[in-house]
């Protein structure tokens, strides 16, 4: 069973990135995530929001970013949807390759994958891209859960 903690449409601005990160940090703290996990989740959300605002919606005043946070019993789920042209991670240059290591950009998706447990990229309807970030609470000590 899940609870929708927030469901909002943000303008395609860098201020929205800050707001989204702050909101998800707040929810994660209340869910009991340890400090380092809160930081990593917040950073992953920031990177995903930047992608939506900058690369998806291209800062367009006519396009919104849909931001939805759901709380599952032991997991937080963040869905971020833009109205852009679409994105295929497989076509994204590998930032760790020797040819790309000194590139100025292109590390956002890699950081997201490093900081959350699940990262899904899928087309949105009628257009754009939806990314889903999921992070689970660490197992309680001694429970094996």
């Amino acid at each position: 069973m899940s609870t929708t903690e927030m469901d909002a449409y943000y303008d395609s601005t860098l201020d929205s990135v800050d707001v989204a990160e702050e909101k998800v940090n707040h929810i994660a703290v209340h869910m009991g995530f340890p400090e380092e996990d809160v930081f990593r989740l917040g950073m992953a959300v920031r990177e995903a929001m930047v992608n939506a605002v900058v690369h998806g919606n291209r800062y367009s005043a006519n396009k919104k970013v849909h931001f939805k946070v759901s709380r599952h019993p032991r997991q937080i789920e963040v869905r971020i949807t833009d109205e852009g042209a679409g994105f295929t991670p497989e076509e994204h240059p590998d930032p760790l390759s020797e040819d790309n290591i000194l590139r100025q950009s292109g590390r956002g998706v890699m950081l997201i994958r490093a900081f959350v447990d699940e990262f899904v990229v899928q087309p949105a309807r009628p257009a754009g891209t939806e990314v889903i970030l999921r992070k689970s609470l660490p197992a309680a000590p001694g429970t094996g859960v």
Binding site: L14, M43, R46, V50, P95, I101, L102, R107
Partner: protein, 114 residues
């Protein structure tokens, strides 16, 4: 909160004491402008003191890389000092620890430019 950058000269090395957040927007722009200004004035030995940098996103990392490239291409050297654990982890994840020279002692860092 964005980033504040204070510059001081120790011999022929320029130390930039950075504090705050280096993220897309003001923070990353401030770093870029600061480095370009120094290189434009002929400063070729630059030490970025990141002890007070609490947060850096992928754009901020990109600016570090860009700064490194700019300084290197001008015949100089840019090194990093006093990284927090979080920033160290980011450089490890992005494999940039193999690119930058990272030090945790200012005196040793300054000597390393000799």
């Amino acid at each position: 909160m964005s980033v504040t950058i204070n510059s001081r000269q120790v011999g022929d090395v320029t130390v930039l004491d950075c504090a705050g957040r280096i993220t897309l927007g003001e923070g990353s722009s401030a770093l870029r402008d600061g480095i370009r200004d120094l290189v434009g004035k002929g400063n070729k030995k630059i030490l970025l003191n990141l002890a007070e940098i609490s947060y850096i996103d992928s754009s901020g990392i990109g600016e570090l890389v860009s700064s490194f490239t700019t300084v290197s291409n001008s015949g100089g050297a840019l090194k990093l000092l006093n990284l927090t654990k979080r920033v160290q982890d980011l450089l490890q994840i992005t494999k940039l620890y193999t690119v930058f020279e990272v030090l945790d002692d200012e005196a040793a860092a300054l000597r390393s430019f000799a």
